[in-house]
């Protein structure tokens, strides 16, 4: 400690609601927090920024009483504390809202808020509590119906219930772990209004995130963490720049936009006509979709989640039954998973842990998934283990998959590394057609850059790429052409060069192009 033999009770400033000093937390194989200092002032939104695995959540889980630190001090309102459970932390006014909600779907908002409290001791007079909760919600701009059942609520509303739970328990400090990851843009705005209402009334907020734009929009002060340490403490939110924050977060210069060569589109590699398919619930998800993807171009498929993009990607890779016509390089194929693999169609699936990898199998087993049937891996009925291992080692090195060894189980990889594994496997097939679905969802800045560069390199090498993403910025950054999907149909295609983001946004939400009627939009395939 540089500030001399500090008395435990001395706080850094009169306005400090929470002070963490020299927090150390080790997990098997990693040091998650290494001497971390953090001060939260009363009435501020303090953003904790860092990549996945930087130690932000661990630090806040310690503050919320979920983990116990291996070293360091926790001071709340100047008093040293040692929380042994979340209950003790909440009693001290510290409440945390996690990424995954802990609500009972079949119960009402009020019942969920009261759950676990000993307040209504015997007779549950819900009416009284409903009014109380409604008043509380009103005070902090948390629009909710106290009588609504949780299962009827949207994700954003469920998050509000979680916040209400904490406020009802008297939380003065609210810790929000990646709160925007599950929210639509309008819901993010609402959340921000709530957080501002809280700070205006003298409460404090810790906002954990890896999204630069949100942090800059909401934070009064910003603390950046990397690899378990603080790289910048309590920067004023107003003065920070994106590139500065990105550099502090990743530890090097980050190019948020990938350099791109002009596209040289070649022959049509994928051509689909009049595709119809149902979703998992048996409802029609695709209504006569037609599109072409050429060699050497990236076609970005934009749309709000649930408009058929996922189903279309599954149809093209053979995972979903369909009606219609699919041609690969001019020859019709009755698509099946096996044929998709045999035709060398690479697929970066939406669900990395459930579909894209087998979590309990080794890196080697995961990396040979698409090619164990062909020599040199296949030798008659057997698999040549030496060949499999050398392939895995090469891919691990070339694509910088961070893992102890090729025998490590896939489930132990971080999100970014798992995506590298999937991309390594798929790209190394040298595919002529690549279908990438939400390839960067949930990844941090550094990993996103790596994924974008890999996709771009493959496009420059002549692959036809279909990129499905809900992130319009990603589509604008990568795609050469953009197709917009709405309610199971293509409602418009654009050349990326003259794409109008407002028009795309309008089409994504069901608006119509002014100079274009629906029939022409559906026929947009040949329009390029």
């Amino acid at each position: 400690m540089t500030d001399g033999p500090a008395l435990p009770a001395r706080s850094a400033g009169a306005g400090a609601a929470v002070e963490l000093r020299g927090i150390v937390k080790r997990f098997p194989g990693v040091v998650a927090n290494e001497g971390v200092d953090f001060t939260l002032r009363t009435g501020e939104v303090h953003a904790l920024l860092g990549e996945n695995g930087a130690g932000k959540s661990t630090l806040m889980n310690i503050l919320a009483g979920i983990y116990r630190p291996d070293g360091g001090d926790i001071l709340v309102d100047g008093q040293p504390r040692d929380f042994r459970s979340p209950r003790e932390a909440i009693a001290a006014g510290l409440g945390m809202v996690h990424q995954h909600f802990t609500l009972v779907p079949s119960q009402t908002v009020t019942e969920n808020v009261l759950l676990g409290l000993d307040r209504p001791r015997f007779r549950l007079r819900l009416g009284r509590y409903e009014a109380e909760i409604a008043r509380l919600a009103d005070r902090f701009n948390l629009r909710t119906d106290p009588r609504a059942k949780v299962w009827q609520l949207s994700v954003g509303e469920q998050q509000r219930v979680e916040i209400l739970k904490m406020l009802y328990r008297g939380a003065n400090v609210l810790i929000m772990d990646e709160p925007t990851a599950v929210l639509a843009p309008q819901e993010v705005e609402e959340l921000f209004r709530t957080l501002r209402a809280m700070t205006a009334q003298g409460r404090s907020v810790v906002f954990i995130s890896h999204k630069l734009s949100e942090v800059m929009a909401i934070a009064d002060r910003i603390t950046v963490m990397r690899r378990g340490r603080v790289t910048a403490a309590a920067l004023p939110g107003s003065g920070a720049t994106r590139s500065q924050l990105a550099r502090l977060m990743v530890g090097r210069e980050v190019l948020e936009t990938v350099a791109r060569a002009p596209s040289r589109p070649g022959d049509v590699v994928l051509s689909i006509r009049d595709i119809e398919a149902d979703n998992d619930k048996g409802l029609r998800a695709l209504r006569g979709v037609s599109l072409d993807v050429r060699a050497g171009e990236i076609l970005g498929l934009a749309g709000v989640a649930g408009n058929g993009q996922s189903e279309l990607a599954q149809v093209i890779t053979g995972l979903r039954p369909y009606a219609g016509r699919i041609e690969i390089a001019g020859r019709e194929v009755a698509m099946s998973p096996r044929r998709a693999v045999a035709r060398g169609i690479a697929h970066v699936p939406e669900d990395r842990t459930g579909v894209g990898s087998a979590p309990n199998l080794s890196l080697t087993d995961n990396l040979i998934m698409k090619r164990y049937r062909q020599p040199p891996l296949a030798r008659g009925w057997a698999i040549d283990r030496a060949a499999a291992r050398s392939l895995a080692q090469r891919l691990k090195d070339e694509y910088a998959i961070a893992a102890p060894s090729i025998d490590t189980q896939a489930r132990l990889l971080s999100g970014g590394n798992l995506q590298r594994l999937i991309l390594a496997r798929e790209i190394d097939l040298q595919p002529s057609l690549m279908v990438a679905v939400q390839p960067t969802r949930g990844l941090d800045v550094g990993a996103i850059e790596a994924v974008h560069r890999l996709l771009m390199a493959r496009r420059d090498a002549g692959a036809a790429t279909l990129l499905v993403s809900e992130d319009l910025d990603e589509i604008l950054a990568l795609a050469d052409r953009i197709a917009v999907m709405y309610e199971g149909g293509i409602v418009g295609t654009f050349d990326a060069a003259d794409a109008d983001i407002h028009e795309i946004g309008l089409l994504m939400t069901g608006g119509r192009r002014s100079a274009d009627d629906a029939a022409a939009a559906a026929d947009a395939v040949g329009a390029r």
């Binding site: 001090d73 998973p337 697929h347 459930g354 087998a358 998934m369 698409k370």
Partner: protein, 377 residues
Amino acid sequence: MTSGRLPIGSSRSLPVRLSVERRLAAPRWLGPVTTIGAVVLALLVSAVIIALVGGDPVRSYLHIVRSAFGSVGVLSDTLVKATPLILTGLACALAFRMRLWNIGAEGQFLLGAWGASAIVLAPVLPAGTPGILVIPAMMLAGAAAGAAWGMIPGVLRARFGVNEIITTLMLNYVALLWMQYWVFGPWSEGGFQQTAQFPREAWLPRLTDLSGSLPAFSGLTIHLGLVFGLVAAAVVWFVLRRGRWGYEIRLIGDSPRAARYAGIDIARHIVVVFAISGALAGLAGMSEVSGVVHRLQDRISPGYGFTAIIIAYLAKFNPLGVIVAAILFGALLLAGREIQPSGVPSMIQGIVLFALITSEILVRYRVRLVRPGRAAA
């Protein structure tokens, strides 16, 4: 960051505390060592119990060992008991690998015994056919009957998604009644619950059959079925470990959706694995009627197909481990006849199983002593 941690005990009262942490990677030796440790621990616990009820644990154990492994004669008996357990254990281990919960090995065993008997009793082959033809025909019939029985739940599962646990369990009773119909009815020997004894040509060769030229083998009842079991275990082990098919089984077992994504036809694998699993159990039934009992009778199985489930688990679905576990259980089955009170061997079985299942936690987690940091002081 998701590694769980459960603090045990309070830091207020203890200078160190126990912390249970998820292991990132278990060293290779750890699995076998904990397994052996668990068995040793279970024997110690059983010893305490034997002592408490007034027995002498050392003498009891020596007696068990002697009555199962003490002489060439009883060792041979142990291996005879282990033979059907190896084959049915393999049947379960193979299916379990793919997360197919075939608990119908008992029924498939019975159908195998019935199918093999039909060759002699129907008769499919006329009396006087030489053994060199009869035995392979019985093997084929037993395996085929078991496979067919296994394919019923396999097809139901692959085609219609019917839960195989229910169907395999229920089909056990159907198989039992089917076999009993033949034993009590058409094939009954004078109204008894058994068929006539098979002619010599339908007996699997035993070591004792060679005692004419090798007197040392006299009385040794080990039969060719043991070789079936050992060869089958080796083949299954090798195919699972090295083969493309084995890789596909592992992939489906871990993540069916990932397997489909890799282009694997899961429905076909379900049917095939069920067929092979049933064939192995059916072969066990054939080996039992042809190698030991030499006739079909009610109570042909003391529950081999159910014990097989435990064996597969103890072996951690490893085909070579199945051999070891089956011999252990064969020994305990045999000792059960010798020890008084007769519950002791099954108590030991239970404690061994319990210790083994609990020891799994040491493979997945590690226990550390932690000195709490300043925050906790």
